[in-house]
């Protein structure tokens, strides 16, 4: 059976033009004598079958995501209305294509999650005291796997897909931040507590992601409670995060 020989991107990237490449050519087998190379390609090296690409067997890329915390909160743990309770992610993704329509993805990401607590009567979390503003924040390392179902025929492109997500997170750092106006003449006083014992360190979630090439809508539901087991009586924070992702490729 004849082996197919394809051009690889890495070698094509060797194309050079418009610059002095004498230094680069110093180690090349073809000796250039003070000549300016304007266009150059080494086609003979391009003989490796490509296995890496958006619709190849392997593909990896970075991504950024921004989601809003959504869903109902239990009494005493309501969040401030608006867009201030959010999750921002930056991470990398490795995709293994199993077939034209099925792939597995693995993600590793950093996620910053903030709950902006509503300051209203009946507030319980993390304490009944009311402040001008108050938030809980988690700096998390998130690991996630996804079963990707692709739709439609496509070439070497990510295409349209639905990802079924399952993941876990570890809160590397936690913060409780309050802002108050203690007295006239003082703008504000901010306090930050870290290493919060009442926030759960490990969490689990499931969700779905609907994507088209580099853009995706993602929704995740947190199965694990927000608070540690010793604080199981505390009212639960909203469990959903819904947002958008942009692949960096």
């Amino acid at each position: 059976m004849r082996t197919l020989r394809y051009f690889s991107k890495s070698h094509w990237a060797r194309l050079r033009r418009g610059g002095l490449l004498l230094a680069l050519l110093a180690g090349a087998p073809v000796v250039a004598q003070a000549q300016q190379v304007l266009v150059q390609a080494n086609v003979a090296d391009d003989t490796v079958k490509t296995t890496f690409g958006p619709n190849r067997r392997w593909f990896g890329h970075g991504y950024v995501a921004l989601g809003l915390v959504a869903g109902p909160a239990e009494a005493g743990a309501r969040l401030r209305d608006g867009l201030t309770s959010l999750e921002a992610r930056v991470g990398g993704r490795l995709k293994l294509r199993l077939s034209q329509s099925v792939a597995l993805c693995g993600d590793l990401a950093y996620a910053f999650l903030r709950y902006d607590l509503a300051q209203e009567a009946g507030k319980l979390v993390p304490a009944p005291t009311l402040h001008q503003r108050e938030s809980l924040a988690l700096h998390q390392v998130v690991s996630e796997v996804a079963l990707r179902l692709n739709f439609g025929r496509r070439g070497n492109a990510v295409g349209s897909y639905l990802d079924l997500l399952a993941g876990g997170s570890w809160a590397a750092a936690t913060r409780h931040r309050t802002e108050d106006v203690p007295a006239p003449g003082i703008g504000s006083v901010e306090t930050t507590e870290s290493g919060l014992p009442y926030l759960r360190r490990f969490g689990g979630s499931a969700g779905a992601r609907l994507g088209f090439d580099r853009y995706a809508l993602a929704a995740r539901y947190r199965f694990s409670p927000a608070f540690a087991s010793s604080y199981a009586a505390w009212p639960e924070l909203p469990r959903w995060v819904i947002g958008v992702e942009v692949g960096l490729f």
Partner: protein
């Protein structure tokens, strides 16, 4: 549905007089099996079983439709249906693809039903910044003149070769603003847009949607604003006198497979209406295909382009704008064997422009075939002129040249013209995957002597372990040039024909004041605004099959210009060098 037997076909009624004349000129039969219609009873049976029929193709003896799996199963049982294939075909159905390809040569044997499945992809539109139409900058004006001059436009105009009598079909995303653009006033007034059709919406209005077609048409038939006295402005392309068929086959912002069906429908339409040349400034790449599929046999439109060439049409296709992105190589239909793929040149250097896609094809055939300016001044909606870039504009420039050459030698077949254009490349017989054979030149485009022997300009000097390329002293000089009195004077720009001596064709520059007449033996004047580039040295290493291993273009600053280790010339590999029109090879 294994045949076309019994169908009624009258080529006199089906083909336009121009289409019939094209076939006669090229000694093609009045019709062939692929021209016969699909049997109406077969089509009717399919229509009764599916929701939507999107295309009935004579050439492929196929019907494309939307169908559920159950409907597809029912189609298989219909009489005359040879096969039902998911369209686009899956990777695993390579055999089926080959089967369809064979249908091209044996249309009576089988009929395929293509099923549209799903679509995907997107396209980034070109959104250039607007420019005051009454204020074309000096640089843009010069570019406009050079984009025509670099393909010997002034000489063609002086010879009356502007595409008269040729029909050029342009397939594009839309021609918005074309009828009202002053650049096309002459074209519209003379009613040389003989037919239009939107194959995506099945209507005749193509002057809506995208404007890319307007921009492409500018490089074929557009003109700069008229000068004083109402005279037609200088041409932006080389076929301002041709007739045009405008087809909308492409959608903005989307890359649906239906576009390829539209392309196929359009090419059959163009064939019927007598198109001589098809300009296709589009290239489908990674949204639909893998690089290894760019072999000219995979995509529907590549196969359709090859059939079009067999029916006597010259298909000119842009190579693609992926030279500086991840895809890098040419798209389809530029990968088709019989499509003339045009790469882009940088007007400033005359060399490959970064974004122009590289060859070869996936099966290592030579592409692109030729190159032309990839940065141009062209027409945009609103009566504007803008500087745009892309091989989309290289293709129509060469298509215009092809029209002019075909006008001069009407007896040529499409593939003879294809070869003639390749041989007219200024690098021919040198080739590389960035420039192809270079830009075609009129002086080299003679069927009788396509490649006149040039004087040797360099020598190969073998040493123990190296082969040196040393430029001859006489070739290392840069001759002085003289300016003509009037750059636009047709007499000045008239190119010598093969039967004329240079003296006989010397320009008749009128004397002014104390000027002396031009001596009869004076060398030909420089054709301004002909771009003037330094003499580059091109060299490549190719294996015994002609597949390039390595190639370079170098600026020449000394006579010892390249040294190649002799170990690289083992196994029959060949070193080929081109400098100042002279190409020589060295092998061991």
């Amino acid at each position: 549905m294994t045949d076309k037997s019994g169908v009624q076909f009258n080529p006199q009624r089906y083909f336009s007089p121009e289409a019939r004349a094209r076939r006669r000129r090229q000694h093609l039969p009045a019709f062939e099996a692929t021209d016969l219609p699909v049997r109406p009873d077969y089509v009717a049976a399919i229509m009764a079983h599916v929701d939507t029929v999107t295309l009935v193709s004579r050439w492929f003896n196929a019907v494309s439709c939307r169908a559920t799996p159950a409907q597809a199963a029912a189609l298989r049982q219909l009489p005359g249906v040879a096969s039902v294939q998911r369209w686009p075909m899956r990777d695993a159905q390579v055999t089926a693809v080959s089967e369809v390809a064979r249908l091209v040569t044996a249309p009576h044997e089988k009929l395929s039903v293509f099923l549209i499945s799903q679509t995907t992809g997107n396209q980034v539109p070109n959104n250039p910044s607007p420019q005051d139409p009454n204020n074309i900058s000096a640089n843009d004006y010069l570019l406009a003149r050079r984009q025509v001059a670099h393909l010997d436009g002034p000489a063609l105009r002086a010879a009356g070769l502007q595409g008269q009598g040729l029909r050029i079909a342009v397939f594009d995303v839309g021609f918005r603003g074309l009828p009202d653009h002053p650049a096309f006033a002459e074209l519209m007034d003379s009613k040389r847009i003989v037919a239009t059709h939107d194959f995506l919406r099945n209507r005749d209005d193509v002057f809506v949607g995208g404007s890319h077609g307007t921009e492409v048409m500018g490089c074929l038939a557009g003109r700069l604003p008229a000068g004083s006295g109402g005279a037609a402005g200088p041409a932006l392309g080389l076929a301002p006198a041709a007739e045009y068929l405008l087809a909308r086959t492409e959608q903005l912002h989307r890359e649906r497979y239906a576009e390829e069906e539209a392309w196929l429908a359009a090419v059959e339409w163009a064939d019927r209406l007598g198109a001589d040349i098809i300009n296709s400034s589009l290239a489908y790449t990674e949204q639909r295909y893998f690089p290894e599929q760019m072999d000219g046999r995979r995509s529907l439109i590549a196969r359709a382009a090859n059939i079009a060439a067999r029916k006597g049409m010259l298909v000119v296709s842009a190579a693609g704008n992926d030279g500086d992105d991840d895809w890098v190589r040419i798209g389809t239909p530029a990968d088709a064997d019989s499509a003339l793929a045009i790469g882009g040149l940088d007007p400033e250097t005359g060399l490959h422009v970064d974004f122009s896609s590289y060859g070869p094809t996936a099966d290592r055939r030579r592409k692109p075939n030729l190159a032309a300016f990839g940065i141009v001044l062209t027409t945009t909606p609103g009566g504007r002129y803008e500087r745009l870039e892309g091989t989309s504009f290289s293709a129509p420039l060469v298509a215009g040249l092809a029209a002019a050459l075909w006008q001069r030698q009407r007896q040529l077949t499409a593939m003879q013209l294809f070869k003639l254009l390749e041989q007219a490349g200024e690098l021919y017989p040198y080739f590389d995957y960035a420039h192809g054979y270079g830009r075609p030149r009129l002086a080299r485009a003679t069927a009788a002597a396509p490649a006149t022997a040039a004087a040797a300009t360099f020598d190969f000097v073998p040493h123990d372990s190296l082969v040196a390329v040393i430029i001859r002293p006489e070739a290392a000089r840069s001759p002085a040039t003289d300016l003509p009195l009037l750059a636009d004077d047709p007499a000045v720009n008239r190119m010598p024909t093969a039967t004329e001596s240079p003296a006989a064709s010397a320009p008749k520059t009128p004397p002014v004041g104390q000027e002396k007449p031009v001596p009869a033996d004076a060398p030909p004047l420089v054709l301004l605004p002909e771009p003037s580039y330094p003499a580059y040295l091109y060299w490549n290493l190719a294996d015994r099959r002609g597949v390039l291993r390595r190639y370079e273009t170098r600026a020449v600053t000394q006579r010892l210009v390249v040294q190649v280790p002799r170990r690289l010339l083992r196994n029959g590999d060949v070193l080929r060098v081109h400098f100042k029109g002279y190409t020589a090879t060295y092998s061991e």
